[in-house]
Symmetry: C2
Subunit: 374 residues, 2 copies
Amino acid sequence: MTLTVGVIGGGQLARMMIPAATHLGIGLRVFAETEGSPAGLAATAVGDYRDADQVLRWAEGLDAVTFDHEHVPQAVLQRLVELGVPVRPGPHALLYAQDKLLMRERLGQLGLPMPEWAAVSTEAELDEFIEAHGGAAVVKTPRGGYDGKGVKVVRRGHEAIAWFEDAAVGALLVEELVEFRRELAQSVARRPSGAIAAWPVVESVQQNGVCAEVIAPAPRSMGKLSDVAEQIAVTVAEGLDVTGVLAVELFETTDERLLVNELAMRPHNSGHWSIEGSTTSQFEQHLRAVLDLPLGGTGCRDPWSVMVNVLGGPMGESLDSRYSRAMGGHPLVKFHSYGKESRPGRKVGHVSMGGDDLDDVVYQARAAAEMLAS
Amino acid sequence: MTLTVGVIGGGQLARMMIPAATHLGIGLRVFAETEGSPAGLAATAVGDYRDADQVLRWAEGLDAVTFDHEHVPQAVLQRLVELGVPVRPGPHALLYAQDKLLMRERLGQLGLPMPEWAAVSTEAELDEFIEAHGGAAVVKTPRGGYDGKGVKVVRRGHEAIAWFEDAAVGALLVEELVEFRRELAQSVARRPSGAIAAWPVVESVQQNGVCAEVIAPAPRSMGKLSDVAEQIAVTVAEGLDVTGVLAVELFETTDERLLVNELAMRPHNSGHWSIEGSTTSQFEQHLRAVLDLPLGGTGCRDPWSVMVNVLGGPMGESLDSRYSRAMGGHPLVKFHSYGKESRPGRKVGHVSMGGDDLDDVVYQARAAAEMLAS
């Protein structure tokens, strides 16, 4: 093919588009924040994505621009659109992944199920919400949060005082503390021309606000649960006019409802299993979708696929030696390393494995990830 | 990981190492012949691989050097070895992939089954061999052939006159014309420390001397046939001290013997199915093997996998439009494009598909490849 996709952001999501683009013969040009980023191999510019001039220079001739993260300012996106570059997802859609208050408002208009929520600007308003919702609530900064940052469980409004006093933050989003059984994630991909393909709903196990492990498909999800999850994601994708991959994080409540937690309009940690586990990986599908090419099959290649994140750990044994040990012990596990410097708690890679026996698959993937991290 | 592999040659085999290296976190540095080669994304030098000084400059600091093709002169390889760079496969092994006369001689010493053969230096000697072997024979230039080039079926010695008259060619290899039922290929990977992993034997369908289609595993190969094929490849790998991937092309004769046809000491067209079809692709396994990392599982992910090469065709409809049509018609087919300029008959990509029903899988893969080529 002669098509070229630009990706703003040089993190691991952009990195994992490189294999898909290489196989499909799609050109990939990354606008990275720093030299030596995870996607550095495909970087054709290093700069500040908030600077429209830099971004516009880089974007010339691209067939589509997409993202490794959702932090590109609307003003920069608008300039790209004015230049005639297809921005996917478009600014009007990405807005709802950038601002959680706008997202809640819009999902409400679409009639989608979600936790009770409010916008609060003062401690008193927050205290009132907490009192009305059982004595505790989740407060979020509407913009800039990720992996548990910008999210806090509070029992008193005063606990959010630093955010209220930060003029840059503005009104806060407060949500009821949902009693959930588990967290699920539903990913779909949508073409500008409208076609949608959905992967099966997955279970996402969080630790300290960070995704630790994903099981695909979600156990005990056959039938109604998977249908409802897919319908929610399709409604979001169509209602918000999302193009590319959309991941919808969901709560499965103790009373068997699904509530929308968060949205991401790009490949997502909960979809890494698809690299080996689905006929079409989320990275390949994202490239196909943003170029408006026909979407690939989204079936599972194994009865069960498990993905376990590898977090940076104490730096005792060398990484090469740990890798060798993990590979030797787990020949069926697939290893993914993001080329990032290891820091305790930082996502530096993931492993995945597929098979018939969920217990065995979980055991092997966890054991391999543990060997790498420690 | 912090390990880096160097690949001499920037063709599609080097290109398809990029996805594997990216996922594993292995650095890849390609020494390419030209700008804009299929593996250009990972090229860190463009030059002449016959020039030891250029190659040595490029190779500094590499943890292993391996190959996209077998044409690097022994003198250059020796200089790398003297520099202390692990060359894998080593010059002493690669020699047998470079010179078919030496290969035949060495395989004979190892007691491996092969067509009857001789080294001939004159028309008269060739005529004698032809007469003793049923009136026809296959003549090959010992060096530099590929994809049917340097190979000729002859009925009279005079037909090889151009090669006899070319002083650079030297003695020719002549082989009996084997009555074969079909062609098979057996790939294995071997670590310097000795461990070997074998993929299942595959059937390779040739058209005009070029591999057109591969079915994995080879139909009707269960039991003795697959055991014998694996044993042959293991004997070659150990006997020649091959490191990395070794592909052994085999004839299955009409009287049910397996004869060694050709060797390749690198990922091979007959192993492209493994990208989606095996737990570990030949490209990933090659990188693991040349770095002496533990090898991955080599089982099949589907009952049947089929790979069909895409050859350049007449340039009517644009490639992008043909791609879109092929993807739309075949959502389960995986597409691979090598980023090469299309010329009639040139391998410009391949497609692959896996599934339960061999008929259906073959049908879809062929149909998709046809849409791309025409």
